[in-house]
């Protein structure tokens, strides 16, 4: 290259190295702007759908535009980091579920949750236990006695990754005393496990009502129990786990989190808006149509809930042998 060109080249390259030094973050006034909801999964899943329904209605109460940002990867780590590293100005919210807590004990390199500030819970969906329709089990005890008499014949589907389904299923099997007799088959996600259950390749799996509904209608899956305090109003024929002798609190929850260090006034504004959203008719009808229960727990109650859940996860993960994670 000619001398002049070479010089310009060098100058540009040097510029490229100096420029980053000028970068700095700009603060913004909270009432203006966009609120982003970070979903740590690719679009189309349950968390994503719920987040979108929520964001849509939430914008009415927070008086700003809302958008959903999908940041999948590394279990839920990448999405979590997105919120942890965001500006603590209340504009970046995370829609996280049990997977967040479970990831602490299942992932080899979990994100430190101290970087998050919980705001409120807005959804709690009890899990159900579903079996392949053509199997003769009519109750949990049928299934348990089958497993006891036929070791390693009961094919139990678990979905791994940041598997709360994994943790709870195993915990349940232990409580029922058939952990050693169960044959656990791991799947990449709830969808794969669902398909395998519907086809009879596995015998039992767990998920929330909304997800199993089409399969129940198509007579592919029978739900043996639901982990709820009382029977579900829409399904009075399905007994609870408690009735059948297992007192386990087991459900999928969704809550809003934001970055640590966000000023308390802003968190209060967010909390109030979340509460209003959970009482909003439009939101309630959207969630109900899909059988996603809406439940609001404010900041204090949410923090308590998380603490308890966390204890449970740690216990189960240690018992199951997932924690500490093997390298």
């Amino acid at each position: 290259m000619k001398g002049k060109t070479r010089f310009v080249c060098l100058a540009l390259v040097t510029l490229l190295f100096i420029l980053p030094l000028f970068g700095k973050a700009t603060a913004a006034d909270f009432s203006k702007g966009t609120v982003s909801f970070v979903v740590p999964y690719p679009p189309g899943g349950v968390t994503d759908a719920i987040a979108r329904m929520f964001a849509q209605v939430f914008s009415k109460y927070i008086k700003q535009t809302t958008m959903v940002v999908n940041k999948p990867g590394a279990g839920t780590a990448l999405g979590t980091l997105e919120v942890v590293n965001a500006n603590p100005d209340g504009h970046t919210l995370g829609v996280f579920s049990n997977a967040l807590l479970a990831s602490q004990y299942v992932l080899p390199e979990p994100v430190d949750l101290k970087g998050l500030e919980p705001v409120a819970l807005f959804n709690f969906d009890p899990n159900t236990i579903g079996v392949y329709e053509q199997l003769p089990f009519q109750s949990i005890n049928d299934m348990v006695s089958f497993a006891q008499k036929n070791p390693k014949k009961l094919k139990v589907g678990i979905h791994s990754g940041t598997g709360t389904a994994h943790l709870y299923m195993v915990a349940f099997m232990k409580k029922a005393g058939i952990d050693a007799e169960a044959n656990y088959i791991a799947f990449k996600g709830g969808g794969d496990a669902k398909a395998a259950l519907a086809g009879g390749h596995i015998d039992v799996a767990t998920d929330v009502f909304g997800v199993f509904r089409p399969l129940v209608d198509a007579k592919k899956v029978r739900i043996l129990a639901v982990a709820r305090e009382r029977r579900h109003p829409l399904y009075p024929n399905v007994p609870t786990l408690k009735e059948q002798g297992y007192d386990i609190s087991w459900g999928t929850f969704h809550g809003i989190f934001t970055t640590k260090g966000t000023p308390p006034e802003i968190i209060q504004i967010l909390e109030k808006a979340i509460e209003s959203t959970t009482k909003d008719k439009e939101f309630l009808s959207l969630m109900e149509k899909n059988q996603f229960p809406v439940e609001f727990r404010d900041l204090q109650k949410f923090k308590l809930f998380l603490k308890n859940e966390d204890k449970v996860y740690k216990e189960i993960a240690t018992e199951v042998g997932l924690y500490p994670p093997k390298k």
């Binding site: 080249c9 540009l12 490229l16 980053p20 000028f22």
Partner: protein, 149 residues
Amino acid sequence: MNDLVGAGVFFAIGVIGLLYSYHITRGTISNPGAGFLPFYLSLILVLLSLLLFFKSFKFQRGGNNERIKIATRWKRLISAFVGLLLYACVIQRVGFVISSFLILILLLRFVEERSWRLTLLLSLVFPCVFYFFSVTYLQIPLPKGILPF
């Protein structure tokens, strides 16, 4: 010559693969663990690379093995490599618009030797248009970097 380099690359990849999968539980063929596939596959790659290595010697006498063609414009190629790698490293800090502006200038003017007029035109228009559309309509949060908007 070509094949020797290829064999060498795959040998190196295979060895790295072996080293970094050694500590993961392998299990057995009837009950494979997470480390089973990576380890044995890396082993296979190492063996295949050795096979290629020996094959290349068989052919060298026949003159079938070509030498690597070094491109005439290799200096520009290297600048493109380096420029692009730099782009990937600084885009988060410097921002999409400025980084793209610079890389386009590099590619259009210095690698491809187009006129300054065309270069500046394209380098300014494309990044700005793409940035605008992606932030307003597509909701892709491109890195802002040091720009205020």
